[in-house]
């Protein structure tokens, strides 16, 4: 390997490498408790909302660095609706969930309309939403905390996949699912490589691809092993996997996904190419409303309550994860896997510092600096490329 390929590798996988370095750092500083099965499990459960919101935020950011400031308040609003239905009115989860999702979508449609079809700047529309939705939630909750949530509702998000194989010391089915996932990944990617070769397209080096697969595979097995040593696969991980997979597919493999990148890259060119730019903006914000509702359901389950301060600063976590994960502040570039890495990185910093007992205020300082550093790195490396 010569110097330029090493540089290229480092640049492409900067955040992955940073993540690995951070995990090692915190593991050493916490005498290994960072990697205790329970902490791995917490990493997912605590940050579930970030993954969900950041995925939606990415679509907004792709359209040109536009953000949605209202998601934190919207999480609170949708949560308060769900709390009122399930706690105060004693309605079932089956009735509350559709209403919560619908509420989120309606709010998304409302904001999307003004942004896309009336061209009110997204910053203004969502700032207004941030204030208004927080206010409405307080009115709905009358300033009170509603708890507890029904058990069947909690189980949807906080429960674990039952160990149908009845493992002795560890959760066998968790391990089996992990192994199956790795094998499937190998088969799919080698198969696509073969079909590429058959059609005569360049395939890149086999060794490079294998190394990548082995690293990802090892990470999955490691993850599965840790979870198997705790309570197995949490349901929330399944929800996250589904959401991330769906959005990763939409952004990379569908025409609609390509439209988001095109508009962020050059809106005028996209329009003259026949892309309905208004519709894309609308979709970005309507979808953000939907995912905010999903995040709200996860949040009230995790807190086992709906309260007036829930969701505070959630928008900042989501925006930060996108930029740390390599989304461009000007729009047009960024990927769902990148955002997942970004959110995980922020989550690891949070968790690691909490275990180390770092003061919460200093944690904020560190997270702020990490965000700044990530964007500086992104901008500077683009300049170097030119």
């Amino acid at each position: 390997m010569n110097r330029s390929t090493v540089m290229g590798f480092v640049k492409k996988y900067t955040m992955v490498l940073a993540l690995i370095v951070l995990v090692i750092f915190f593991t050493v500083r916490t005498d290994g408790s960072m990697l205790l099965p329970q902490n791995i499990n917490n990493l997912i459960a605590q940050n579930a909302y970030v993954y969900i919101l950041a995925t939606g935020m990415l679509l907004c950011i792709l359209t040109g660095g536009n953000i949605d400031l209202s998601v934190g308040s919207l999480v609170c609003l949708v949560g308060s609706i769900g709390g009122t239905m399930m706690v105060t009115k004693h309605m079932g989860a089956a009735a509350a969930i559709p209403v919560m999702l619908l509420a989120g979508i309606l709010v998304g449609v409302w904001q999307g309309f003004w942004i896309a079809y009336r061209r009110i700047p997204p910053f203004i529309v969502t700032l207004a939403g941030m204030l208004a939705f927080r206010g409405i939630s307080n009115v709905v909750l009358d300033g009170l905390t509603l708890a507890p949530m029904p058990d069947n509702y909690l189980n949807l998000f906080n429960g674990y996949i039952v160990d149908f194989m009845k493992g002795d010391k560890i959760n066998m089915s968790c391990m089996v699912i992990g192994v199956v996932a790795v094998v499937a990944m190998f088969l799919v990617s080698l198969n696509s490589r073969r079909s590429k070769a058959k059609k005569g397209y360049s395939t890149g080096s086999l060794a490079g691809q294998l190394v990548k697969l082995i690293v990802i595979g090892a990470a999955i097995i490691f993850f599965a092993w840790k979870l198997a040593n705790y309570k197995g696969i949490p349901y929330i991980l399944v929800w996250l996997a589904v959401i991330i997979a769906v959005y990763a597919y939409i952004t990379s493999r569908t025409t609609v996904g390509r439209h988001f990148y095109a508009i962020g890259g050059n809106e005028k060119a996209a329009k003259l190419s026949g892309i309905n730019t208004n519709r894309v903006y609308f979709l970005a914000y309507a979808n953000m409303g939907f995912l905010a509702a999903v995040a709200a359901m996860v949040t009230i389950a995790r807190l086992n309550s709906a309260n007036p301060t829930a969701g505070t600063n959630y928008e900042m976590d989501a925006i930060g994860s996108c930029f740390v994960g390599g989304a461009s502040a000007y729009g047009g570039s960024g990927t769902v896997p990148g955002v997942v890495i970004g959110a995980t990185l922020m989550g690891v910093i949070n968790l690691g510092m909490s275990i180390m007992g770092v003061d919460a205020n200093w944690q904020k300082v560190v997270k702020g600096l990490v965000l700044l550093a990530a964007v500086i790195f992104d901008v500077e490396s683009k300049k170097l490329a030119k």
Partner: protein, 522 residues
């Protein structure tokens, strides 16, 4: 003994992987207009950036000797202090500020905490008069035309006490009339002792204005021609630029059968997008047949782009009225996608601003206007996308290492080819090409003309909007002349000459003055 104001000796400048300038030598005499010509990427702009300190001393090798002293500029302020002022191709003016504010931007009059506005505007007006502008310096930049903006740039340079003026493609966005005015201004300034270096692609302008011409090719100075002793005909300059003689600047088109009318516009009227009481297209009528290239000539601001874009799914303008027929059927195109579905495509004049996603690869740009063509039910077939873009790279002879190259890294000519590829993959029957060869070099122009010929020989219709008279005359089967939003005249290939086109433009302008007076009388 020649009075040399500037000598650049053995200048070599390398970028990572590329030698942009390779031992360049140039001598400029005091008080002359010195032209620098060469194909795109030949190194002209790089040379001027070295001279003006944008590439600081140390980043290149060689010497700059100005007024007999060796200069080591570390930034643009250093070179401006010596009276070397560069005016870039892209105008550096703030639209929302007044002319006066723009002229003294960064060198504000008065004190940092108390700007002397009287001095600012007073001085600005003085220089505006020198460049022949009658506007007050209180007028905002956005309210004057691009031709006048260019003059403001020159006034700004004069205000900096310029001794050596460098103009990088000063007329690239000007129409013929404004271009001529600018060149004449350069001659007036010359008579007052100004030395100018002008970079341009427009060879007729060079022959008109330049005393000496230095030809740059592949980062080297090939030769310097002197108007007094050498033959400086356009053919002679082209030979030096490309290293061979181009006997025919327009490829022959023969045996193309011209068929039925494919697109017809009747009584088309469009109002300005933002100032919706201003009429920009006025009852225009035109048509194009299958297999035909129709040229639209006219001055900048004549309403040609506005006409084309409003026809293309109402992508420009307000209160659009009139009738549009495609293949004899009346259609109403609601948006761009609608137009593309009706096999109509508009190829923008501004490939960087409105045409391409510069930070995306060729592959993505090629398929942008027809993602249906590479997808099933909204799911992209990435293998097919690769195949399509590789086909077009080959077909249009786009010079690039791979289809994964970002379009922003390509030269202007190759970017134009990607833009054409995008439009062609949308599978149109009627193409409106807006300034298809703007800012690209002679060799690439020839290739674009060949592509146009291929398109019409397949039975497609091409409407070509162009401000370059030779191009319109050389390529069109028929020519419409637009002026002040109207179709001022129509000429067949046989009867068209540049004089006739000019005549139509001028006639219409006079006619318009009269109607204006009539309106006032009412």
């Amino acid at each position: 003994m020649e009075d040399i104001i500037l000598e650049m000796k053995n200048i070599t400048k390398t970028f990572p992987g590329v030698k942009a300038l390779d031992d360049v030598n140039i001598k400029v005499r005091r008080g002359e207009i010195h032209a620098l010509v060469g194909e795109n990427g030949a190194g002209k702009s790089t040379l001027m950036n070295v001279l003006s300190g944008i590439y600081p001393f140390g980043s290149y090798t060689g010497d700059i000797i100005y007024n007999g002293e060796t200069c080591k500029f570390s930034n643009i302020k250093d070179s401006e202090a010596k009276g070397i002022v560069i005016i870039h191709q892209e105008l550096a003016l703030v639209p929302e500020m007044t002319i006066g504010e723009n002229m003294y931007l960064g060198v504000e009059r008065g004190k940092p905490y108390a700007i002397d506005w009287n001095e600012t505007y007073g001085e600005a007006d003085k220089y505006l008069k020198k460049v022949g502008l009658s506007e007050s310096s209180h007028v905002q930049i956005k309210d004057i035309g691009v031709g006048k903006q260019q003059l403001v740039e020159i006034a700004k340079a004069l205000a900096k006490d310029a001794k050596l003026l460098i103009l990088d493609e000063p007329t690239s966005s000007l129409n013929e009339e404004d271009s001529r005015a600018l060149l004449d201004l350069l001659k007036v300034l010359q008579s007052q002792g100004m030395t100018s270096i002008i970079i341009s692609h427009k060879l007729n302008e060079i022959s008109y204005v330049a005393d000496q011409i230095t030809i740059v090719r592949d980062g080297q100075t090939i030769e310097t021609l002197d108007k007094a002793v050498d033959n400086i005909s356009e053919e002679r300059i082209i030979k030096g630029m490309v290293g061979r003689e181009i006997t025919d600047r327009f490829p022959k088109r023969s045996g193309v059968k011209i068929g039925d009318v494919s697109l017809e516009v009747k009584d088309w009227t469009v109002y300005h997008q933002t100032y919706s009481d201003r009429k920009v297209v006025d009852h225009a009528n035109l048509y194009v047949r299958k297999g035909e290239v129709v040229g639209i000539s006219g001055l900048m601001g004549a309403g040609r782009t506005e006409l084309a874009m409003s026809v293309f799914g109402k992508s420009y303008g307000k209160h659009i009225s009139g009738e549009l027929f495609i293949d004899g059927k009346k259609v109403n195109l609601h948006n761009e996608q609608d137009a593309i579905d009706h096999k109509l495509m508009y190829v923008t004049e501004d490939r960087k601003g409105d045409g391409l996603i510069l930070e995306n690869p060729i592959r993505v740009n090629t398929t942008l206007a027809n993602m249906k063509g590479i997808s099933n039910h909204g799911v992209l077939d990435l293998d097919k996308e690769k195949q399509v873009s590789e086909e077009y790279v080959e077909k249009l002879n786009t010079k690039t290492p791979t289809i994964e190259q970002n379009v922003g890294n390509l030269s202007g000519g190759n970017q134009q080819k990607v833009l054409l590829a995008k439009s062609m993959f949308a599978d149109p029957e009627i193409l409106i090409l807006d300034e298809p060869t703007r800012g690209i070099d002679v060799g690439a122009k020839y290739e674009i003309y060949t592509i146009i010929n291929d398109l019409v020989s397949e039975g497609k219709s091409v409407i070509m909007i162009s401000s370059e008279m030779p191009e319109v005359l050389g390529m069109s089967d028929r020519i419409y002349v637009m002026s002040e939003g109207r179709i001022a005249g129509e000429l067949s290939r046989e009867e068209a000459t540049s004089e006739k086109i000019m005549e139509y433009i001028l006639k219409e302008v006079k006619h318009d003055d009269k109607t204006l007076n009539e309106v006032k009388d009412d």
